[in-house]
Symmetry: D2
Subunit: 141 residues, 4 copies
């Protein structure tokens, strides 16, 4: 399921873009800045950074920040091509569970999630792989 | 504290803009679309709509959506002039508690929050009025 | 609106109980432990501590922890008499916006919220005072 | 990875208990009641139901409700044996992403999550299987 090894062989997708997104993160409590770069199928891009809060539960992640910006612009579920995430850490960090759930709602199960770090390492999994048996609107009916 | 009566006397601020923001909300579970229109002190604007999720707790409100988009663009706490919110309801709805907390982190206590509805009614309170004795980074030290 | 001065004159309500609740908080990221002690109108008590997460937005506050435990035990909105909160800080900290919103849903507007710190200082506000013009189920109709 | 078929062959673990937990859920907005039953390694049990809010993002899930109640009682990460979840749906629903993230923080990766529905169907996955490459405290360092 982990395609880390093959992934490492090629240049991370949208690496310079996602590093720019990370620069605008607001993370004064954790000092752990995260950046996200979302591509739509018709070629538009949305940037996101994590936005922390003194009340920790009210923090909003980089991935969700980029996704809600696209929705506000009129994009709908299924319109997204890929998302790239970046952190400064020894290993590329994966999206938190809440971001995976928001991707499940808004993105195709096959959409690739490119996880990178400052060294240019990359791991790739799809939305469906990140949230196996994911809860969705179908479960509510 | 409620300045509803005076507020009603004048035309809601940024009313046509916030109604445009509302149009892009994604609210298939509640069918309650919310729009937010955020102005920066240097005159830029960010639109937000609520983005719901089959897993209800992962919904993100319109107000927070507009704020994180501005942060992703490089704006910082204190850079915001006002936020206008709109709903389709008999009375203008106020921001939820989580949005008030995010405003507390990112906006001046004196920043006005203009709450409107589809009929053009408006209520105005400041961020500090919406979250009295609000929890902030100072409380963590 | 702030009744801090009168409040200081009397012994904090349920102070020893809420300090016990705080002792079980799980706060390895902020090192800011919060305790909550919830009383039902029929005299039962529920303890809560904040439960943090490496993914900061998934933290759950002490106040909400005590409230959901009571709901799981069968208590319903309107069954609650008071909540006491405590922190280790120079000033008693107030509940975050999300906790105020959950109180709005589950507690009477007049229910007192006793905010304390390790020194025994106390500030008291009601749920309605903490979330003026609070968003509620009525706004959805 | 999905052990649904084998799982169906045996009686769901703690089925009557988790159905009792579900009965106390507070879900007036979705009418989708969820129950959770958490077992500690030393044999104690915690019940949880989802607790919804007019402001949808402030809802709290059944799984997290049971986990924070255990933490408030003094249990720590690693003290948990299993969690059983139940819904009224054609298929057993899985935990949302946020609950998976909280399990990642508090439970062993090998801990079984038993997902059931009102018909007694059961699917079993471990915490690690539900959140592949899960984000954790190690990623923050």
């Amino acid at each position: 399921m982990n395609r880390r090894d093959e992934a490492m062989a090629y240049q991370p997708h949208y690496f310079s873009e996602v590093r720019k997104a990370q620069a605008n993160a607001y993370a004064p409590y954790s000092n752990f800045k995260v950046g996200a770069y979302l591509r739509t199928k018709d070629g538009k891009a949305y940037y996101g950074g994590n936005v922390e809060n003194a009340a920790y539960p009210m923090a909003i992640c980089a991935e969700r920040s980029s996704l809600v910006a696209a929705i506000a612009d009129g994009y709908r579920p299924g319109d997204f091509e890929s998302i790239t995430v970046t952190v400064d850490a020894d290993e590329p960090s994966s999206p938190c569970g809440a971001c995976r759930q928001v991707m499940k709602e808004l993105c195709d199960d096959e959409m690739p999630v490119y996880m990178t770090n400052h060294k240019g390492d990359m791991t790739e999994l799809s939305v469906g792989e990140l949230l196996p048996l994911g809860f969705s609107g179908k479960d509510l009916n």
